[in-house]
């Protein structure tokens, strides 16, 4: 971090300037918003704290902190080590990556559509991914792995929603209702498939169709983790363009942004993340609303908090999962229900409060 002296005399109090002098050529200089940096650090701290609590909470007898740490690094008793390393840690990892992925996808889609309600879940992506993933689980003649199927489903749903509303555009609310329609079709297809399998299989699939971290197939977690990092980098790279795209298409193009390409890339990233995340945890679409909303509250105004949204999504997911395990213990409330109970009132408030902005 450079001192203000080295920064151009346009130093603004709310920014850090990371500069790399290059001799004769103009220095490389990256601006970091102080408030966003602070928000991200806060969210990171919160995530670590929650992960710690979550690691220490479960149906087995509560472990002491030193015992938990020993078990985490493989030095505790075999039973503790098993519980921590094989049961709780993977669950937390799955929660972090799915929450981050859902929220990042939500943030990108909201920004591109200039509407805080335009999350992948509302426009039918979650249901599309779920329907295809269920198809692969119940073996409806297709032998792709669930992540690939969920990805295909999310892409098909996105193509349907955005294709069907091509003429009316993503502006306004109509395309959201079209998305609800697309989602309803896929939801019905999912139910249709579940009625055709045995009652046991349907029961087993139930927590997964409402969104839960119980299933979390290992290969799905792995593919999502592999996709999340490049997606986050792409999001950070797109941030500058997205910030301008918030103004209007005409202004953005005039400022030299390939608006169509930028929108396409952002939507593709959102589709990929949503599809892969659904393959891990089912449709927990409300995280895509709550995460970015949380991050925007903490971050500086008029920025697109890509990193913040990802972290906040992870926080929300881990917290909701923890809450779901504690609140009605020993019954476990699926994380999808917990987030829906938190997210729906938030959505209603955004939609019905005449003073609330709908632009992200």
């Amino acid at each position: 971090m450079t001192s203000p002296v080295d920064a151009p005399n346009a130093v603004r109090q709310d920014k850090y300037y990371l500069a790399l002098p290059l001799g004769q050529r103009p220095p490389l200089r990256v601006i970091v918003d102080k408030r966003n940096l602070l928000a991200n650090l806060l969210l990171l701290g919160l995530l670590i704290l929650l992960a710690g609590v979550s690691l220490n909470t479960g149906s087995a007898a509560s472990l002491s902190l030193p015992a938990t740490l020993r078990a985490l690094f493989g030095a505790g008793s075999p039973l503790d080590t098993f519980v921590i390393q094989e049961l709780r840690l993977p669950r937390i990892v799955a929660g972090v990556v799915t929450g981050g992925a859902f929220a990042l996808a939500g943030c990108l889609m909201q920004t591109v559509a200039r509407n805080r309600l335009a999350t992948p879940g509302i426009v039918g992506l979650d249901n599309g991914a779920t329907a295809f993933a269920v198809a692969s689980v119940v073996g409806a003649g297709i032998s792709l792995a669930p992540p690939a199927m969920a990805l295909t489903g999310a892409a098909v749903a996105a193509a349907l929603t955005f294709g069907l509303t091509g003429r009316i555009g993503v502006r306004g609310y109509r395309f959201l209702v079209a998305g609800i329609g697309v989602g309803a079709v896929f939801g019905a297809l999912t139910q249709l498939m579940l009625t055709r399998v045995s009652i046991d299989a349907a029961n087993a699939a139930y927590p997964w169709t409402v969104g839960s971290l119980n299933a979390r197939p290992d290969h799905a977690v792995l593919s999502l983790s592999l996709a999340l990092l490049p997606a986050l980098l792409a999001g950070i790279w797109l941030t500058r363009s997205l910030t301008v795209l918030r103004l209007s298409d005409a202004v953005a193009i005039s400022l030299g942004i390939a608006a169509g390409r930028c929108r396409m890339v952002a939507l593709s990233v959102a589709v990929i993340l949503t599809g892969l995340a659904v393959a891990v945890a089912g449709p927990v679409g409300m995280v895509a609303l709550i995460g970015p909303e949380f991050a925007r509250q903490l971050s500086a105004k008029n920025t697109v908090p890509v990193v913040g949204a990802t972290l906040a999504g992870a926080v929300v997911m881990v917290a909701a999962d923890l809450l779901g395990r504690v609140i009605l213990a020993p019954i476990e409330v699926p994380v999808g229900i917990v987030t829906a109970l938190i997210g729906s009132p938030l959505l209603l408030w955004i939609l019905l409060n005449p003073n609330a902005r709908t632009a992200p």
Binding site: Y173, R174, T195
Partner: protein, 346 residues
């Protein structure tokens, strides 16, 4: 389709009667089909034979007779009642919110009814009568939420935002119901088959508690049709014509709650019927609410009963929940309406 509706809506009252008779004939044919076809072993020819023997004291095919009298006939009756109730409720709700997309299932009215029933079962209510009243109360709650949202600044004249709010409310109530089902295994067992929305496994006795409230609803609908038609011209015009918009709106909401609550208690939450039926009725008969209501009478059961037939036949020997099928029919209609260059207004 456009050509068809153009000719059919070339509105003279006489053509309405012709249309009504034609649709009623179609309904009778479909009702007959629903008695003849099923997911089980009794095929159309055996069923036909059994139908002819129905008047006779004894029948040589007692299995077919049982299937028709005890399984298919109650189902048909419930389908008829539910179809009329949902179709008329949709038309009324659309007229009173002046929103062509207002549908009891989408707006959270059915979800309100379902949630109320879930709560009632959790707290030990069991008799069918109580269940109907509870569902109607829940539907009333949902209706009042919709009405309140529609009166909010900026929402009332944006049909699409109202639908979004309803969809979110439905989602919220659905999650709450799921929470209760997780919490209470007994409730879950009671309600599992009811909550998907289906005509299967219902008994004729389930219908009896509906009749008083449906009678009240029918009477009110007849009284309200004229003021509603005036209300379509705008609140001020309606006042000028000597109506009381506020009273009319509240009464319509009560009727919708009675109809949707009753239908939901009988068959579980079934979405999109209240969208598709009035939509078709308006396409055939034009926008006047009185004409729409007349056509909803045969159209509602046509949609529900034929969807029920398809649900029995598409994946034999198991059955498809009716709600799934109506969603598959209704969602494309919804998308089509939203896609239009201009939203139709009421």
């Amino acid at each position: 389709m456009r050509v068809l509706t153009h000719y059919l809506s070339f509105g003279k009252p006489r053509s309405l009667i012709g249309l009504w008779l034609g649709l009623s004939g179609l309904l009778i044919a479909i009702a007959l089909l629903s008695l003849l076809y099923g997911a089980g072993d009794v095929g159309p020819s055996r069923a036909w034979q059994a139908l002819q023997d129905l008047g006779a004291a004894a029948s040589y095919d007692s299995e077919a007779r049982f299937v028709i009298a005890e399984l298919r006939a109650p189902r048909l009756w419930i389908g008829l009642v539910v179809g009329v109730a949902l179709g008329v409720a949709g038309a009324l709700l659309q007229a009173v919110t002046r929103n062509p997309l207002a549908e009891p299932g989408l707006l959270g009215v059915s979800a309100g009814a379902a949630f109320a029933v879930t709560l009632a079962i959790l707290w030990g209510a069991d008799t069918a009568t109580l269940r109907v009243s509870v569902a109607q109360l829940g539907a009333l709650g949902g209706c009042l939420c919709v009405l309140a949202a529609a009166r909010l600044q900026g929402i009332g004249n944006d049909p699409v935002r109202l639908i979004l709010a309803g969809a979110i409310l439905s989602g919220l109530l659905h999650s709450l119901s799921s929470l209760i089902l997780l919490y209470d295994q007994h409730t879950a067992d009671e309600i599992r088959f009811w909550v998907v929305g289906s005509l299967a496994g219902r008994q004729l006795d389930d219908l009896v508690p509906l009749f008083p409230s449906l009678g009240v609803a029918a009477l009110l609908t007849i009284l309200l049709a004229r003021p509603l038609a005036a209300l379509a011209l705008g609140e001020h015009v309606a006042i000028g014509l000597g109506h009381h918009p506020r009273v009319v709106r509240l009464l319509v909401i009560v009727v919708v709650a009675l109809l949707v609550g009753g239908a939901t208690a009988a068959a579980g939450p079934i979405a999109f019927v209240g969208l598709v039926v009035p939509f078709a009725a308006r396409a055939l008969a034009g926008p006047d609410i009185r004409r729409t209501l007349w056509l909803c009478l045969p159209l509602g059961p046509i949609v529900v009963v034929s969807a029920d037939i398809v649900s029995r036949l598409v994946v034999p020997p198991s059955e498809l929940p009716l709600g799934v099928l109506t969603a598959l029919i209704g969602a494309p209609v919804l998308i089509g309406v939203v896609r239009g260059r201009r939203l139709p207004t009421l």
